[in-house]
Symmetry: none
């Protein structure tokens, strides 16, 4: 299997000032064409560190992709280090990149300095990949290491410049190596904790074909996503096998599956609603607008989301949502009774098909023995029904709010599905 490593150069990453997002983008692209990424590594702007890291990567993988270290102030080190490493005889000016540098600077109203001119110089050991979006040219080197031919690419660190270079890098890789195939399929589940899920699907997992690999990706907002990867088969066969395994998995955990790939609960709810031109509204206390915010993060949410009320203070619950003041007096705001009245109240206020309401204690203060921090009541109302459920979590304020919101959305998804089934019978 053709292997790769991705190296990021820059002190700003080592001091935590910048999160490296280039590597994930490049890794995704390489995986998609069947290149196995074995290591991501970030190293400092020092010549010694760059050589050590690159030599190590060149020793162990067929392809090495370097990002960063090509800015106008730092490129002396990276470029001269690459020249030495690849046995260059000297530097030559790349006319096309020179022209692009000139154009970019003119557009910004900046005059071309010697530093800018130097950016068009490249080691004579490289093939230039023109950088259309920035001043630093991308470079491709062919080197012999460990008895094999290696490909080394040097890309700019600026994310959109690196991203723009990826297709050209993939093309070069495809023309140099015979690639195996690899396919992934990610199945999104919610509502079953990771350990319970793994027990539930153990028989299925144990019977997966040898060339299929399963990974668990747990996340408090997205639930547990299951990623199936299949190696070394043709696209059609690979997709057929992954489809068969998905069907088997669905037979075991059925309703816990809400989508695939980059899906989200709010997108799944959106699809459910759009099918029959239905609408929703929200009434949030402890989640403070987070549920509305998640719903409206989906493009086109205005087709089914009318709006919501954040009823943080009890006066808003009573005056705007028409919750009975006695309900709050008798049962408290964090109660089945209150949250159901909130759901009914917002549904009637906004005239939507469904509504969702939350009331709970996110913390750090406000808990009691009976209703500790982390307690939340969720209600969903629709034509002729209102259903509610209590959840309990333990975590920071932020994490509690995240979990309240995602569990509320999942509860809503399940209640809408149940309601639609009832209607069909």
């Amino acid at each position: 299997m053709v292997t790769a490593s991705i190296c990021t150069i820059g002190d700003e990453i080592l001091i935590g000032q910048i999160v490296d997002t280039n590597s994930a983008k490049i890794a995704t692209a390489l995986n998609a064409i069947g290149v196995k990424v074995e290591e991501l590594v970030s190293t400092s702007d020092s010549g010694e560190a760059i050589v050590d890291t690159l030599e190590r990567c060149l020793h162990s993988t067929d392809i090495v992709i370097v990002t960063g270290g090509l800015g106008p102030t730092k490129d002396d080190i990276t470029k001269s280090t690459l020249a030495k490493l690849t046995g260059a005889g000297g530097f030559v000016e790349n006319k096309e990149q020179y022209r692009i540098i000139e154009q970019l600077l003119t557009a910004r109203g900046v005059e071309m300095s010697d530093i800018n001119k130097a950016q068009a110089l490249v080691p004579d050991s490289c093939t230039v990949i023109i950088n259309e979006c920035g001043t630093a040219p991308c470079m491709q080197f062919e080197i012999e290491r460990n008895g094999s031919k290696r490909l080394l690419f040097s890309l700019p660190g600026v994310p959109f410049e690196a991203e723009a270079a990826i297709p050209k890098v993939l093309k070069a890789i495809k023309s140099h190596f015979e690639l195996n195939t690899i396919f992934h399929r990610t199945i999104c589940t919610f509502g079953i904790p990771e350990s319970t899920l793994s027990k539930q699907i153990e028989p299925w997992e144990d019977n997966l074909p040898d060339n299929v690999h399963l990974a668990y990706l747990p996340n408090p907002i997205l639930g547990v996503r299951l990623r199936l990867s299949i190696y070394g088969v043709e696209k059609e066969l690979g997709e057929k096998i992954l489809q068969e395994e998905t069907v088997k998995l669905r037979a075991i955990i059925g309703n816990a599956i809400y989508g695939e790939g980059e899906d989200s609960l709010q997108a799944a709810i959106g699809r459910l609603l759009k099918r029959e031109n239905e609408t929703i509204s929200t009434a949030e206390s402890c989640t403070g607008g987070m549920i509305a915010s998640l719903i409206t993060s989906i493009p086109g949410a205005s087709e089914y989301f009318y709006g919501g009320v954040v009823s943080y203070d009890n006066s808003v619950k009573i005056n705007t949502l028409k919750v009975d003041a006695n309900t709050i007096l008798q049962h408290g705001a964090v109660s089945k009774e209150c949250v159901e009245e909130m759901a009914l109240g917002v549904r009637s206020l906004m005239g939507t098909t469904y509504s969702i309401a939350t009331s709970g204690i996110a913390g750090p203060d406000g808990g009691s023995e009976e209703k500790p921090v982390g307690t939340v009541w969720v209600a969903v109302a629709g034509e002729g029904f209102v259903e509610s459920k209590q959840f309990r979590f333990r975590g920071s304020r932020k994490l509690n709010i995240d979990r309240f919101s995602s569990n509320a959305l999942n509860f809503m998804r399940c209640e809408i599905e149940k309601h639609k089934k009832r209607l069909t019978y």
Copy 2:
């Protein structure tokens, strides 16, 4: 200087499915106590790859921090690999972590399985750092490599669990190594773009003492934060110098500074309001609840935040916020007129001291030549005034919503401050 490397374990990072955010957080924390991070590396879930990477890091740095690979499922082999690497004689159960696993599962209504029980087992070569927020215990190992004592930490990959462990890791590092002194002070600014800001404060920056270093940390939600670091002086003197420099900076950019350290615009607004027992409400269209969600992310927000209306559909603007239907007909929902009526409407509905409203086009669709995607109107209302402002940005839906929200909050902060000044004269 004490050095460290940070290793992330997990195929999900190598295939680009997840962006590693843990490493940047850990790197920031290590830098803050004077530890130099020399390498960040991500490797696969295979035993061989883990051993190779860890041995290499242990060879070259004093501290190695490993994240990931500690989940309860089958793809996690980190623990047994660490046991072998550190010469453990066997596994022992950690009673405290066992108790926490039990509590967490009970809270979720899940029964404890053998898989869960196994999570409380740790190699006898480690010191356990209890994980309060999750089931997998953190581990600390002392190992001899290259003739020196090394510290190896193993933390969970789940971001909030890793983050919660950082203070304990720092404490252990401080008690094992003599660290150089380094102090930081972060000044939070909003409203001046990075390049303009850097030009404006250039004379100040050029005159900073030699041992003071300035870093720019730009962020669409937090604004541009300026981090001053001072090296190699006693705490008292260091803090005095940073204080003097902060005063000079304040004289230049004054009102753009909203706080220090881990501050946020919503926390700054909260402080302003609490001083005189004032209250706020929100009316959001394009920001879809994000502003309410940011305000309620602050513990104790219930003291000053009454609630809000997410008026996504025009019917909600008209029926709940009492915006005149003719205003929308004449000027559109994204207009000075509409957003001012929204602010006035929610203020009167909820009876708060101030209110804020937003109406704009987050995209990707819905833009026009006159009002392109990225346009937003923001209004702030208070006793006897309503002020509004238009902003224009260019970015994805998510980035637009983030920027709309943070710029709206900053506008509100400035308007409240202005209003308070008017009252004093």
